[in-house]
């Protein structure tokens, strides 16, 4: 990436932000293009928050360019259990983030670019922004068949989605961000965005699945850098500003005071999972144990990511009822999370009769319960 000049440009930005004369105060300058030097999804989302909360966008609009290492990003009001394969995410060490804008779930990796258009609330206009993107693409490769739909998607060849959109509106400022698939791993994308969890009922915003395609597949000469540059150029033209991209370091407290606190908040369990709208899990599974198959029915209500109500229906006497009710009691109020459930379940084993048979059955039940999370 453009990391050599990063130091120089980062300093430039801090000067721009500090000096009252340059950049932000000037009424002649109509825009600013910044690019993140970080690939951390939480840091980059924090930059969006920071600009949304702290920058005066009255006379100046901002375009923020960013890319992330593999991550799944869900919308503000979505349910991660409904949207993606959390087990797979954990296995592959793919991060999960919840953004503050609405909309559906997307998969990010370095082959996907993110664009955020910051304006005042009055100047919030998504179609215009997407037209800038399309114009840039067509300027770069005139033969590309790309257009914007009325759902604010960008389609390639009238068929494949290459960009999705979401937006956040505050009291005085707003931002519209969108993705653009250049060369992302479609195989990982489709496998992580498929939820294996059954029996979920919720009012969370569902995602609308779509067939996707990389621009790279259409034209192998295209790279992310070229796309970023083309879009920056078109944006600069539209806003009558210099085609100059200022690099920004999302960990720099001097330039962005308070940014690290925002980054931390986006990483907390309370934000990522705890903000899930209330949902219920009503499912059953089979357990194979020593030549017999057992039916287990589980009903749970989850609010703020925690188990509010829990009911486990097992074949009678397969496990001591006292132990089962202890499990239910322990789980109630705990996070709907495999790690916590494992800890609680294994702790309960310490205080019950030390019987290998019991332990085996218990572990089997708990392993299955954890699969639901």
């Amino acid at each position: 990436m453009v990391l050599q000049s990063s130091l120089k440009n980062c300093l430039q930005l801090s000067c721009v932000l500090r000096t009252p004369k340059a950049g932000f105060r000037s009424t002649t300058s109509g825009g600013l293009i910044i690019q993140s030097v970080s690939n951390d999804v939480y840091q980059n989302l924090a930059v969006e928050d920071w600009i949304h909360d702290h920058m005066n966008l009255e006379n100046r609009q901002v375009l923020f360019l960013w890319r992330n290492s593999p991550a799944v990003v869900i919308g503000r009001h979505q349910n991660p259990w409904q949207e993606c394969n959390l087990r797979l995410l954990r296995q592959k060490n793919i991060k999960l983030a919840r953004r503050r804008s609405g909309g559906g779930t997307v998969y990010h990796d370095l082959g996907n670019i993110n664009l955020t258009f910051f304006t005042t609330r009055k100047k919030y206009e998504r179609m215009e922004n997407l037209k800038v993107v399309v114009k840039a693409l067509k300027a770069l490769r005139p033969q590309l068949d790309v257009h914007v739909t009325d759902r604010y998607d960008i389609l390639l060849g009238r068929q494949y989605k290459i960009s999705g959109t979401a937006a956040k509106l505050g009291r005085t400022t707003a931002y519209h961000h969108c993705t653009l698939l250049c060369n992302a791993d479609k195989f990982v994308l489709s496998s992580v965005l498929k939820s294996p969890y059954k029996g979920l009922k919720s009012n969370a915003t569902p995602s609308v699945p779509a067939s996707v395609k990389n621009l790279f597949e259409e034209d192998p000469s295209l790279t992310c850098e070229m796309l970023l540059d083309a879009i920056a150029e078109e944006y600069a033209k539209q806003h009558h500003i210099d085609h100059h991209i200022t690099l920004i370091n999302p960990a720099d407290e001097a330039v962005l005071p308070g940014i690290n606190k925002k980054t931390k908040e986006l990483q907390t369990w309370e934000w990522v999972y705890g903000k899930t709208p209330k949902f219920s899990v009503s499912t059953c599974f089979n357990m194979v144990y020593k030549d017999s198959v057992l039916d287990v029915k589980v009903d749970m209500d989850v609010k703020h990511g925690r188990i509010e109500v829990c009911d486990i229906d097992l074949p009678e006497q397969w496990l001591p009822p006292a132990l089962c009710s202890e499990l239910v009691k322990s789980l109630t109020g705990s996070k709907f999370c495999p790690n916590e459930t494992t800890t609680l379940a294994t702790t309960l084993l310490r205080v019950c009769p030390q019987d290998d048979e019991l332990h085996r059955r218990w572990n089997l039940l708990c392993e299955n319960m954890i699969m639901l999370m």
């Binding site: 932000l17 500090r18 009252p20 932000f24 909360d53 702290h54 005066n56 009255e58 919308g75 503000r76 009001h77 954990r90 060490n93 609405g102 909309g103 005042t120 609330r121 009055k122 919030y124 206009e125 998504r126 604010y152 979401a166 956040k168 509106l169 505050g170 009291r171 005085t172 707003a174 009012n203 915003t205 005071p257 308070g258 931390k264 908040e265 309370e270 934000w271 709208p277 925690r306 322990s330 109020g333 495999p338 790690n339 916590e340 494992t342 800890t343 609680l344 379940a345 294994t346 702790t347 309960l348 310490r350 205080v351 009769p353 030390q354 332990h359 572990n363 708990c366 392993e367 954890i370």
Partner: protein, 476 residues
């Protein structure tokens, strides 16, 4: 002093809000009127229907996704009321008025209509209703500088009443440290600033920068081991501390610990401590570390401690036993599943290495690596966390010398290892030499273990570690 104002200010702490303060005449009139009537009881105020304002792009309906307030809550102007969603856009709706929420017109997930009432707010009868148009305006320049300022791209946030107070006292908002949410300047901050000024010789410098505020406790309850909050206590002014006690239910890891330790209470513990000279072991490990590295395994001291413990348990199997509920029978466990206490982000977990009695030191090290990476990722399975028969806790990696570990039922013994220190000791010839000393603290169940057994086991374990070559004789 405006009592009513202070009440509203403290409510800001609890209501999530982000706003930009704008100076305009109506807002000034608003706060001015409020000050005149500040001492009157706020009971039967006027109920104003706050309507959902235009979202833009011709949108007429939205879905209510989250309420930030409930009926009966106090709100200030610009506090967040709710989050609504429309067609991939999430919108934060903020209050136009100060007052008390009297009615929410929609439940979660219901459709709300632009132009229709969203909430009913009760405001002071005397105040009158603020103008309907949007209050956002281009900030005026020059002499209004103290009401709306930008420093480092940072807007100074303060309610109209706070701004008025600053203006009346000729205070520049840029010089006041805001301690409210989002660096907001609260009335207390103006008062504190005033208090500091009495006795100040030099006038405040015009280019004062905003100092990052003290972190407040009302946000995210995530990390309990947060950085210590420094609360400066100046000499002359009254202490303004707005922290409050926070009560939350015990769940998850803490709940597990409560259960385990409560059960452990039933066990009569006795302790036995000793010091181990690890000088030879330190040298041995240095030699073996690169060999293990080649095989892709990180070799710490724990595999040696664990293997030596297992060798000791072969001689003293009662330490690897379990007492039943009624204390009628003791079961000697065949497998040595040695637990290793692990400190993770969420709390204490104790996975165990299975079958140590038939594992080599290298195999133990490899297994420990696996458990450690799973543990830090929060992905340990039930099998790894159950079936332990004996536990070691290496608290020394964090610090400490002697400890008093608590036995984890259904086990009967546990050892806590302190840190390795370089200390002077006498050798056989009476000379002082540099020794690598580690302390061990054992706890055992006195119902079936006696002091002599514990001491002999410890001595054996110690001898293996002080002279690692002797382990070779008994390795299986």
């Amino acid at each position: 002093v405006c009592i009513h104002r202070v009440r509203s200010c403290s409510s800001i702490h609890f209501i999530k809000s982000k706003y930009v303060c704008v100076f305009d005449k109506s807002a000034l009139k608003f706060s001015h009127q409020r000050r005149l009537f500040r001492t009157s009881a706020v009971s039967c105020g006027q109920i104003v229907q706050f309507k959902l304002s235009d979202i833009g792009e011709g949108i007429t309906e939205v879905t209510v996704k989250e309420w930030y307030i409930k009926e009966g809550d106090s709100v200030s102007q610009f506090d967040s009321i709710c989050e609504v969603q429309s067609d991939k856009a999430s919108v934060t709706i903020t209050s136009r008025y100060d007052g008390i929420i009297r009615k929410l017109h929609y439940n979660l997930d219901e459709i709300a209509y632009v132009g229709k009432p969203l909430v009913d707010i009760e405001i002071d009868a005397s105040k009158g209703v603020a103008p309907e148009e949007d209050v956002v305006e281009t900030p005026p320049m020059s002499h209004e500088e103290h009401t709306h300022q930008e420093i480092k791209g940072h807007k100074t946030l303060a309610t109209p009443a706070v701004r008025r107070l600053a203006m009346e006292n000729n205070i520049k908002l840029s010089e006041v440290v805001g301690t409210g949410k989002d660096n907001r300047i609260l009335k207390e901050d103006i008062l504190n600033y005033l208090a500091k000024q009495t006795g100040a010789i030099l006038p405040p410098s015009p280019k004062a920068e905003i100092i990052p505020p003290l972190p407040k406790s009302e946000t995210v309850p995530a990390a309990p081991k947060d950085k210590a909050r420094k609360i400066p206590v100046p000499v002359s002014r009254p202490i303004v501390f707005s922290g409050k006690d926070k009560t939350e239910p015990i769940t998850g890891f803490h709940k597990a610990m409560v259960k385990t330790m409560s059960a452990a209470l039933k066990i009569p513990h006795f302790g036995y401590c000793d010091e181990i000279d690890l000088t030879q072991l330190v040298q041995l490990r240095e030699e073996l570390k690169p060999l293990a590295q080649i095989r892709g395994v990180k070799l710490s001291f724990m595999p040696f401690f664990i293997k030596a413990a297992s060798l000791g348990l072969l001689q003293y199997p009662i330490l690897n036993a379990s007492l039943d509920e009624s204390c009628q029978n003791v079961t000697y466990k065949a497998l040595h599943n040695i637990g290793v206490a692990m400190d993770t982000e969420q709390g204490l977990i104790v996975p165990n290495v299975k079958n140590v009695q038939v594992c080599s030191v290298f195999e133990i090290a490899s297994e420990l690596n696996r458990l450690q990476s799973l543990g830090s990722a929060g992905q340990l399975g039930t099998n790894d966390l159950t079936g332990g028969t004996f536990t070691l806790s290496n608290i020394g990696t964090i610090g400490g010398t002697y400890a008093k570990p608590v036995i984890l039922p259904p086990e009967v013994a546990i050892g806590a290892l302190g840190k390795i220190q370089v200390l002077p000791r006498f050798n056989g010839k009476g000379e002082v030499f540099k020794a690598q000393i580690m302390n061990v603290s054992w706890s055992a169940d006195h119902r079936i273990i006696d002091g002599a057994t514990m001491a002999r086991f410890s001595n054996l374990w110690k001898s293996y570690l002080e002279n690692p070559a002797s382990m070779l004789l008994d390795l299986k």
